[in-house]
């Protein structure tokens, strides 16, 4: 007797030039369940969901709805079958209102003219029914990430979707908002919806999902009942080996103050408030200080002010005793190493060969440039070859590989090699493991700890709670451009950290407006 499946994806194979993203993958979603899809970055989860949503077409396999074979050639087909998706990167038009975004593509019209009143009623009713707080007339660019996500959920509900896909929905939320989302998901199930929940976070899956299917490197590993397994077992299924959940490191032995930030303030480009407001802190040699916080609370701007990408409005930045507040990026290059947040935007010239990227921070030094202004080909090649060797950067043709053709993990390794090899006393690492698989993450964490043990002062900016808790020696929490608390990762809990991140708690030591 076949069980009543809401949707089945049977033996799906999807190939891209050079890789098989999904290799004979089968998942079956029961009606009214929360089914988690677990896998590392690059395991093929998003590809599989894109196939289901009609964004890609699979080469092999079939999709069944209520036991009947269906063909999904575009999002429209998916929509007609009642499949909706909250994408990892929200698909919202920034300059439109919440309401316009919800109705886009499913507008009510009379003679071609938009009839927004009816739509507004329906949206407000839905928002009430499921506890999804929104302001229909607010512009997307003005609202919080949490509200943007609720807009995305309402988009699905507005279209009366029955099967809801959530692609890594918690990556951008605070622990409290995650709680809230979990509740919303449970409400949705209670109303008869079925949910596919894509994640690589074990604790969330344990909390909310009924069953979980695991993917590894494009292959289907298996489906289990959440009640029958524990986190360790799931992580073994996901990674294929035992995973060191804790980073192996000794206690820090902080030395001299390397970075000294005093009353740093940077006006925001988006709103009237300061993006960074009167921030003061130190980082000592031989310690990793982590800036924790929800995305968009001034971390990026803080880093820009420290690295010279933005010019602070007031306050001062000293590194090794030298005031660099208003020095150009080039001038402070002898003090600050910087692993940037976005490796494609800032970190690499993707169309340059790898060797040119390896010297990106040092190309003008006499080692690589002759007195007449010509590049020293041989020296550049040798230097690049050495870094590739030492830091195990893998690429098709070594130094001459066009960087664009390399995998994300190896691109990141190249950046880290370049920055660490400069041998500076101060390193800023912004989300250094974003989008990488467990092996690469372990490797990068080990390197940061090794640099710390050599006496480097490291400022780590991270959105991943596990990274914040495991890698850092001290945690500074940022909320709305200010530092609101300093925590010891050994003594605090995720819950406490979450309260600070959400702005619900504030250390009296960090008074509003004070340093």
């Amino acid at each position: 007797m076949q069980e009543p499946y809401a949707i089945e994806m049977l033996h799906i194979t999807k190939r891209f030039p050079g890789i098989i993203a999904n290799d004979d993958v089968t998942i079956q979603l029961r009606k009214g369940e929360i089914h988690a899809l677990l896998g590392e970055n690059g395991a093929g989860k998003s590809t599989l969901m894109s196939v289901l949503f009609g964004l890609y077409q699979a080469e092999e396999g079939e999709i069944r709805k209520d036991g009947k074979t269906v063909h999904i050639n575009n999002p429209n087909d998916a929509n007609e079958l009642g499949i909706g998706m909250v994408h990892q990167h929200f698909k919202l038009v920034q300059c439109f209102s919440v309401l316009d975004n919800i109705i886009l593509g499913a507008e009510t019209v009379k003679n071609g003219f938009l009839q927004k009143d009816e739509a507004r009623k329906k949206v407000l009713a839905l928002s009430e029914k499921y506890g999804l707080q929104i302001d229909p007339d607010a512009k997307i660019s003005d609202i919080t990430v949490g509200m943007q996500q609720r807009t995305e959920i309402l988009k699905m509900l507005y279209r009366d979707n029955e099967i809801l896909i959530f692609d890594e929905p918690t990556a951008v939320l605070t622990p409290q908002e995650i709680e809230e989302l979990m509740q919303i998901m449970k409400n949705l199930i209670a109303e008869g919806k079925s949910i596919l929940f894509i994640s690589h976070k074990l604790n969330e899956i344990m909390e909310v999902a009924d069953r979980v299917s695991v993917l590894r490197k494009g292959k289907y590993i298996g489906t289990v009942n959440v009640a029958d397994v524990d986190e360790a077992e799931l992580s073994r299924m996901m990674v294929g080996r035992d995973v060191q959940l804790k980073v192996d490191k000794k206690d820090a032995t902080p030395g001299d103050v390397i970075l000294e930030v005093n009353g740093l303030t940077l006006a925001s480009k988006e709103h009237k408030k300061n993006a960074v407001n009167n921030v003061s802190f130190n980082v000592r040699a031989g310690e990793i200080v982590c800036i924790a916080g929800i995305d968009g609370n001034g971390q990026t701007e803080l880093v820009y002010s420290l690295t010279g990408l933005e010019n602070p409005t007031s306050g001062s930045v000293k590194v090794c005793g030298r005031d660099i507040t208003h020095e150009s990026i080039r001038k402070r290059a002898d003090l600050v190493a910087h692993i940037p947040e976005d490796r494609h935007k800032h970190g690499l010239v993707l169309d340059y060969p790898l060797e040119y990227n390896m010297i990106l921070q040092r190309y003008y030094e006499p080692e690589f440039t002759s007195a007449a202004g010509f590049l020293k080909r041989k020296e550049i090649r040798e230097y690049s070859d050495r870094l590739i060797q030492e830091y195990d950067v893998r690429s098709g043709q070594g130094s001459i590989t066009i960087t664009r053709a390399m995998s994300g993990g190896n691109q990141q390794k190249a950046i880290i090699a370049r920055e660490i090899d400069r041998g500076l006393k101060f390193l800023i690492a912004v989300q250094p493991t974003r989008g990488l698989d467990v092996g690469a993450i372990e490797n990068i964490h080990a390197q940061l700890v090794a640099e710390r043990d050599k006496g480097c002062a490291i400022l780590l900016v991270s959105l991943e709670l596990s990274e914040v808790m495991n890698v850092s020696d001290r945690i500074l929490v940022m909320y709305e451009g200010e530092i609101v608390g300093e925590l010891d990762p050994k003594k605090t809990t995720t819950e406490e950290l979450g309260l600070y991140m959400a702005g619900a708690k504030r250390d009296p030591q960090f008074q509003k407006g004070r340093g």
Partner: protein
């Protein structure tokens, strides 16, 4: 990725193939238009356009005509280099036409009005072009004005400004500027013995080899120097260039200034030979800058390739002037050039076709 793709697998060869496809399609359309206008002479005319100087009657006449084409190729090449250089830094220098006008204006005024020697006129022309480039660059760097828009505006402003200035040194009886050779022989770029090779075409001067040398120099600067490394990094990824401490705003201005200087020199290369006079009543921006865009893209955005593409564009432009004007309009060459520029937008697509063909061939083996 296939490692061994042989001769046709090389990116350079594919670029050349793509350019040749553009040329063939462009010429084919030109031929179609000729056919539509008057079928009888169409084939002869398209052949004339392509062969240009080779259609002349005698040996010396051919050589002399070739000389004339080369005289006009050198300014075109300079304009193309200007566009090409800026494009490598991610800037579309449509203002090359205006920078060319500025160079012409100053070079001619310095030569005719002030009686200065050719090399001073040349330097002044470069500076004038550079100044104009700087304006576009500064507007882009500090005021976020798109260089295409400011370039178009400056093309017109400069046109009328130059008309105004050169009216002071114009021939009283005509709208043309005074003849250079007669007014100030010192201002004519020296021939250094070159005319002898071109059936005593006295317009063939040092300008031609200089233009080729500059093209090679531009290639070296872009590919072998730290300056080129910075500029190309800026062109590929502005943000990464800033992250690495490169002065992005300075680079934008410097790039457009150099582009401007190149176009300015181009104008001097033409007007300081005495081959042509400036028409002080002209109301349209000279086509040299726009043809420069054609040559740039046809040359595969490579300074060396630009040498050949510039010659080709000038070849068909001159060829177009030889066809029977009683039957065919002389704009037919402009039409072909414009078509080629348009088709250059498809270069990536053509290269993809070539690559796919290769892949299929490889698969059959």
């Amino acid at each position: 990725m296939n490692e061994n793709k042989g001769f046709f697998g090389k990116p350079g060869v594919q670029t050349i193939m793509a350019s040749l496809i553009c040329i063939v399609i462009g010429l084919f359309f030109g031929f179609l238009v000729l056919l539509l206008i008057h079928p009888q002479g169409a084939w002869d005319s398209i052949v004339t356009i392509i062969l240009n100087f080779i259609t002349r009657s005698s040996g010396p006449a051919k050589i002399k005509a070739l000389g004339n084409t080369l005289v006009k190729t050198s300014p075109l090449l300079m304009c193309a280099l200007s566009v090409c250089f800026c494009y490598k830094v991610g800037l579309f220098n449509i203002g090359a036409a205006g920078q060319y006008e500025a160079g012409a204006g100053i070079a001619l005024f310095a030569a005719l009005g002030w009686g200065l020697p050719w090399w001073v006129c040349l330097i002044l022309a470069a500076l004038a072009g550079a100044l104009l480039g700087c304006i576009s660059g500064a507007l882009k760097a500090y005021r976020n004005v798109n260089e295409v828009i400011s370039g178009i505006m400056l093309n017109w402003i400069t046109l009328y400004l130059v008309n105004m200035i050169l009216t002071k040194v114009k021939d009283p009886a005509s709208p043309y500027t005074m003849p250079l050779q007669a007014t100030n022989p010192k201002a004519v770029i020296p021939g250094v013995g070159l005319p002898a090779f071109f059936a005593n075409n006295r317009y063939v001067t040092l300008a031609i080899p200089l233009a080729v040398i500059i093209a090679v120099a531009i290639w070296v600067v872009l590919n072998k120097t730290v300056f080129g490394y910075e500029l190309r990094a800026t062109g590929f990824n502005k943000e990464a260039a800033r992250y690495a401490g490169m002065a992005e705003k300075k680079n934008i201005i410097v790039t457009l200034a150099i582009g401007g200087a190149l176009a300015g020199i181009g104008a001097a290369f033409l007007f300081l030979t005495g081959y042509q006079q400036w028409t002080t009543t002209q109301t349209s921006v000279p086509g040299m800058g726009f043809n420069g865009i054609a040559a740039t893209f046809l040359g595969g955005l490579n300074p060396i390739g630009t040498i050949f593409s510039s010659f080709f564009i000038q070849q068909i432009t001159d060829g177009g002037a030889l066809i029977d004007k009683a039957i065919y309009p002389s704009q037919i060459s402009d039409l072909i050039s414009a078509l080629i520029v348009y088709l250059c937008g498809f270069t990536m697509f053509f290269r993809l076709i070539i690559a796919n063909k290769l892949a299929r061939k490889g698969g059959n083996k």
